[in-house]
Symmetry: C2
Subunit: 273 residues, 2 copies
């Protein structure tokens, strides 16, 4: 177990020299045919991805729906075990976007940290602090609060004007000030909205961001680096899922090349920033 | 499978004459000792609850975290099968508060409706319509969108002023107007805020509400009925979890009495409304 999540994340950045987060969104329809015959096809595919990317991954992010839809909880557990063995420096993010009242949020924290043994979990702020604090009460684990998401309709709620600023900025400020007792809170900020990302970075300079939306969603990598890096040159976990794991139809060499290429692009932009 | 969720809900109200929703939030620490020895203690307890309440339950609402935290997905599946056999008129709500981008929301819809065979699922509006529509695209199933929740910090986001009205009212209006193609959308409105509930009912007269917060959370039943009934005398599913299932320490007679008592109170208030 981690002593402290924030130190754990720093170690991941330091030891891998990478900001890449590999999203594990396995889709049985897209898994290569030779692995679909495996009794645990999702696990077999995830092992391939982890083997091909462990040298350039600061984090792995299994997306819960892709396991829950097909009853693959045991494969999710085994995937996380495999990450620990093969990529011990990488942080494991359970991307489940939990959000419920306090007593139920406690149960979800048990699920993420005790059952699945993830390091941190994505959570939704719509219920306010009651629904967040159970995930950050233990300094050894972290929570990643949805702030400005990467999807097309994100602005319907997140951009509403609240006393002169968009709601997502109010969420970022409140998260930093009230929901971060152990410096173990991060924010989700989509790569598809680099201008919003820049504004959030100005508002909360020390909070790390998980940045989805690179790859199939078409996010702006240069804009993310220019606007999102923290003062120490870290502060970001840039997540790509389908763009890495289904590269070349899910062939190991293509997966490796896609992850290395993303890492190279990011680090070149980081150097010039 | 249902032909149409809205008709399915109407049938549940008509045949049971009840607005009661029984929340299935099993907690191993509170399950009676004689059932904890069962190889499937959660299922054994839920069977007891369903047997004791089927005659007065318009709906059952298993709360996902209570299964996920302990790896009890198979017991959740078997619980829903048991409800179908013993309470065929009752609607089954998977209370999982899903909220993610469109392609992932599709996977969660498959989880709720295809894997667990629930009739509807609770969803979070923070991502906007992209995250809601995959749950309402099939008229046979429904979605229940979080609007004004029952917890103490609910107002931190939900009450922010948006052009002169609270965000939760904007969510209610948008849900009714844009996210309800098959009249299969409901809203979550907590019993602990009866004044807010009354305002939401005025804004969206035809949308059914799922109302948690009765029982241990201290919600105001008279206020809920006075402010929340639809014009036809229905329009509400009033949910109690711990107040029913752990009545008398989880003894069958006490569970039955608690459910009947809640149903009696509600129907007395409904008659006088």
């Amino acid at each position: 177990m981690n002593a402290n999540f924030r130190q754990r994340l720093q170690r991941a950045w330091d030891r891998t020299g990478s900001l890449v987060c590999v999203g594990l969104d396995p889709d049985l329809k897209r898994i290569p045919a030779e692995l679909r015959a495996d009794p645990q096809p999702i696990l077999a595919f995830n092992r391939r991805v982890v083997d091909a990317t462990a040298h350039v991954a600061a984090a792995y992010k299994p997306q819960f729906a892709h396991y829950a839809a097909v009853g693959a909880e045991a494969e999710l557990e085994a995937t996380i075990d495999y990450i620990r063995a093969k990529a011990p420096d990488a942080v494991v993010i359970l991307d489940a976007k939990r959000g419920d009242i306090g007593s139920t949020a406690e149960m979800y924290a048990r699920e993420a940290f005790d059952r699945y043994q993830a390091d941190c979990v994505t959570v939704n702020p719509y219920l306010g602090g009651d629904g967040i604090l159970p995930f950050v009460n233990r300094a050894a684990f972290g929570a990643i609060v949805l702030c400005r998401t990467s999807n097309a309709s994100a602005g319907q709620l997140q951009d509403v004007d609240v006393a002169g600023e968009p709601l997502y900025l109010a969420v970022a400020r409140r998260a930093a000030a009230e929901w971060n007792p152990h410096q173990n809170l991060l924010l989700v900020v989509g790569a598809t909205y680099p201008e919003e990302l820049r504004m959030i970075r100005s508002a909360v300079p020390d909070i790390p961001f998980l940045v989805p939306g690179i790859g199939e969603q078409g996010g702006d990598l240069a804009g993310v680096l220019a606007g999102g890096l923290a003062a120490d040159g870290n502060g970001l976990l840039i997540s790509s899922s389908r763009g890495i794991i289904f590269a070349g139809g899910g062939e190991a060499g293509a997966i490796r090349a896609a992850a290395e290429d993303l890492n190279r692009q990011i680090n070149a932009l980081r150097k010039s920033a």
